[in-house]
């Protein structure tokens, strides 16, 4: 597996992560370039979410380093990592259910003082029609759109999405895939995805994770289209 040593948007270098004494991430290295859509695949329990939570600043590393635009970010707290331009969308699709859609968006842009919702409505026009609705009353697909819109309001360079299509209807997944392609023109995406056909459709590169380690990196478009990463799962 190659880890490119040039200037990367994100560079994870040989990190170990533990929950107490239980080590769950072993010597993981990977990189993300500007403008890529990189997908991380792996079975449940492989350590994918732990890796994302670590990059996002919610967990601390035991060894190694995480660099974002050449700056070591592992000492930073989660909110500082977000302010630096990495937005993390949790797997649980949790929107602030007692707040309106508009209030959710307002909070999302607050950290960088962005009150201009217009650009995100271009990706998700439906959100504009739901502004006054309580976020808790949104459907699963609408929640996911809102979460991505909220992440985009932070004007991030990198969005980490943890299983964004989990539990969604096929036609919504198709719509989201189209949105990912549009968003990737301005924002780099690093996505955990279990949906392999979708992965083949959207990924520029694929990392395969198993038992806390990266076991393969697929760079060839042909190999990705053929879903050759399936054998590593």
């Amino acid at each position: 597996m190659s880890v490119n040593d040039g200037k990367k948007l994100l560079h994870v270098e040989s990190i170990d992560v533990s929950y107490g004494k239980l080590k769950v991430i072993f010597d993981v290295s990977l990189y993300i370039d500007d403008g890529e859509v990189v997908v991380l695949v792996g079975r449940n329990g492989a350590g994918k979410t732990t890796l994302f939570r670590t990059i996002a600043g919610f967990l601390k590393i035991r060894k190694g380093a995480i660099r974002y635009r050449e700056e070591e970010i592992n000492p930073y707290k989660a909110f500082e990592v977000a302010q630096k331009g990495i937005r993390y969308i949790h797997q649980d699709k949790h929107v602030f259910s007692t707040l309106s859609v508009s209030e959710n968006l307002e909070l999302a842009g607050h950290a960088i003082g962005n009150k201009d919702f217009g650009p995100v409505f271009e990706y998700f026009p439906k959100i504009e029609t739901l502004l006054d609705r309580r976020a808790g009353n949104l459907s699963g697909g609408e929640r996911q759109m809102l979460l991505i819109a909220m992440a985009l309001l932070g004007k991030p360079d990198l969005i980490l999405m943890d299983e964004p299509t989990e539990g969604l209807a096929p036609h919504i997944i198709t719509d989201l895939a189209t949105s990912f392609k549009k968003i990737s023109k301005t924002t780099t995406l690093f996505i955990i995805e279990q949906n392999l056909p979708l992965t083949a459709q959207i990924a520029d590169r694929v990392y395969c994770m198993r038992e806390g380690g990266i076991v393969a990196e697929i760079e060839s478009k042909d190999e990705i289209k053929k879903m050759s990463f399936e054998k590593y799962l």
Binding site: F79, H90, F96, L99, E106, L107, H110, G154
Partner: protein, 288 residues
């Protein structure tokens, strides 16, 4: 029906509710937002009452005493949140209770050292009585009711209309998701805690003329604050208000009916409400 008995009882009940509401806010918000049972809130209530007493003694100005009590309560709250509570966030609830109760006990020790054991009287700043349906009601009691009502409205305005309030509501639902948006949750905790501590201090200062200010006044109040918060639902400000209104009336009107009811009835009410709705009246996670 003997109005001369019931009208003052109801109004006195509302004034008790006002104090309970102010003092219980910190407990309720502390659990809702920070998942910490911050029993030391009763220390702010106690210290503020003593500050009021001291300022009245020194200057004769009750309102200056009240202001200083609220400010001191807020300052101690700030110090406790940033220096102590941050170390217990995420720990089991019982652990947080032991830590905060220990701090409360240490604080009471300091209060005893500074002000002594003897109870201190504070005279009411307003002696005026006003007539309601022919009854003479102390204006000061009405002022307490109005103050508590104003605090509730102000807090709701903050929660609904300001970015801080929206962040607090969001933080009560999911602190981690709020942090992922780049918002410093610790700052939200600190500001919230200062407001809650100030409210407990306001309760202590307002209650000072109604009770004898003593080192153990916080213990007495702790019991009622607990009932108020559990009955209303932990984390719900609206629930805390409704619950305080119920408990205040149960104590005052119940005590008028048969004096032992003033002590027993709040527990009976809490028992039956929890039996029917274990989360309390408004105890749905994430609702303020």
């Amino acid at each position: 029906m003997n109005l001369t008995l019931w009208i003052p009882a109801i109004i006195f009940g509302f004034s008790i509710s006002g104090i309970f509401f102010l003092v219980s806010l910190g407990l309720s918000i502390g659990f809702g937002l920070m998942r910490v049972v911050n029993l030391e809130q009763m220390l702010y209530y106690t210290v503020s009452a003593y500050m009021t007493y001291t300022m009245v003694r020194l200057t004769g100005m009750f309102w200056l005493g009240l202001l200083s009590g609220v400010v001191i309560a807020g300052i101690i709250g700030f110090a406790v949140e940033t220096q102590l509570l941050r170390r217990v966030y995420g720990k089991p609830m019982l652990f947080t209770m032991v830590v905060t109760f220990s701090f409360f006990l240490i604080g009471i020790g300091a209060v005893q050292y500074i002000w002594g054991l003897a109870p201190k009287p504070v005279s009411s700043p307003i002696k005026t009585m006003i007539g309601i349906f022919g009854m003479e009601i102390p204006l000061y009691r009405l002022l307490i009711i109005a103050t508590a009502g104003a605090v509730y409205v102000l807090i709701q305005l903050i929660l609904q209309k300001t970015i801080l309030g929206k962040a607090i509501r969001a933080g009560i639902e999911s602190p981690e998701n709020l942090e992922a948006l780049g918002i410093n949750i610790n700052r939200i905790f600190t500001i919230t805690f200062i407001i809650a501590s100030g409210c407990a201090g306001l309760g202590g200062a307002l209650n000072a003329p109604l009770v004898m200010v003593g080192p153990y006044m916080g213990f007495d109040m702790l019991l009622y604050a607990f009932i108020t918060v559990i009955l209303g639902g932990l984390g719900s400000i609206k629930g805390t208000l409704i619950s305080a209104l119920i408990i205040g009336q149960v104590i005052s009107v119940g005590g008028t009916l048969w004096s032992p009811l003033a002590f027993v009835a709040p527990f009976v009410v809490m028992f039956f409400v929890i039996l029917i709705k274990p989360t309390g009246l408004y105890g749905v996670k994430g609702v303020v």
